[in-house]
């Protein structure tokens, strides 16, 4: 039990530190790599919560596909060092103040109002078996069939949209 808590604390420290590193890096490439680290940490949390399929899709889709797309665009635009002067000087302090307020408020509400003292135990070996995955797929393709189909249409629309945006118009100016 205690070792589990230790793993949780260390991992959450890594997750928060990498999120802050993403936020405060001057170089956009470093931001992207910090975000990859954050995604991998969250994937380990999914494993601790007994969701191995989601953990693996997190690594392949988020840390793999989406971040590669980000890195491509950063390098394509040469946006590594692009820093602009701040337009409003009071914006940063105000944003920090609001963020701290939001954190304090949400932590207070979770502790004071919504006491969720269910103990999260480590998932047993059956969670990582093929049988569990089969059950999840049955839920996905039975109960959630319509949302699944809508998602496929959404992906198709996004693909067509990206191609239309990237395509050169015939007879376009300049």
């Amino acid at each position: 039990m205690t070792s589990e808590l230790l793993v949780f604390l260390v991992l959450s420290l890594v997750a928060i530190a990498s999120a802050l590193g993403m936020l405060f890096s001057r170089n956009t490439i470093y931001s992207a790599l910090f975000l990859v680290l954050n995604f991998i940490t969250v994937a380990v949390f999914y494993l601790m919560l007994g969701a191995p399929f989601i953990a693996m899709s997190q690594i392949t889709v988020y840390a793999g596909a989406i971040m590669v797309l980000f890195l491509f665009v950063i390098m394509l635009l040469g946006a590594e060092q692009m820093t602009a002067p701040d337009a409003l000087s009071w914006q940063k302090p105000l944003a920090f103040l609001l963020a701290i307020t939001l954190t304090v408020e949400s932590v207070y509400l979770i502790f004071a109002r919504a006491k969720l003292d269910t103990v999260i135990t480590a998932p047993d070996a059956a969670t990582n078996s093929m049988e569990s995955l089969r059950e999840m797929a049955m839920t996905l393709f039975d109960k959630f069939l319509l949302p699944f189909e809508v998602t496929s249409i959404l992906l198709l629309v996004a693909m067509v949209g990206a191609i239309v945006l990237a395509k050169k118009e015939k007879g376009a100016r300049a």
Partner: protein
């Protein structure tokens, strides 16, 4: 002993860092990454609540995980279109400062 609280608080902290990123950074790519961070925090809360329900009921429960699956698909679609837009704006304006993206006409 880890309670559900810890996961939800971690999720709240990560969400706040993402919101802070949207507020203080001027680079649209970093703003996009902050949005991804916020989606991730919400996903973590989904899986934690699902696991908590599973333990309370004592039977397998996949709805939380399936919702996360859909969120990942939506995030992928959003990034594809958003990055295409940023590239297109860069081609016309030669710069991607968010403060200069204040007109719809190219």
């Amino acid at each position: 002993m880890i309670s559900t609280d810890y996961y939800i608080i971690l999720s709240a902290i990560l969400f706040t860092i993402g919101a802070l990123g949207v507020l203080i950074r001027r680079n649209p790519l970093v703003i996009f990454m902050s949005i991804e961070l916020m989606l991730n925090a919400a996903n973590l809360a989904f899986v934690a609540f699902g696991r908590s329900w599973e333990i309370a009921k004592g039977e397998a429960f996949f709805n939380g995980q399936i919702f996360v699956f859909f969120v990942i698909a939506v995030a992928a679609a959003e990034v594809a279109v958003g990055l295409a837009l940023i590239v297109e704006i860069f081609k016309t304006k030669k710069n991607i400062n968010i403060d200069e993206m204040n007109s719809l006409k190219g």
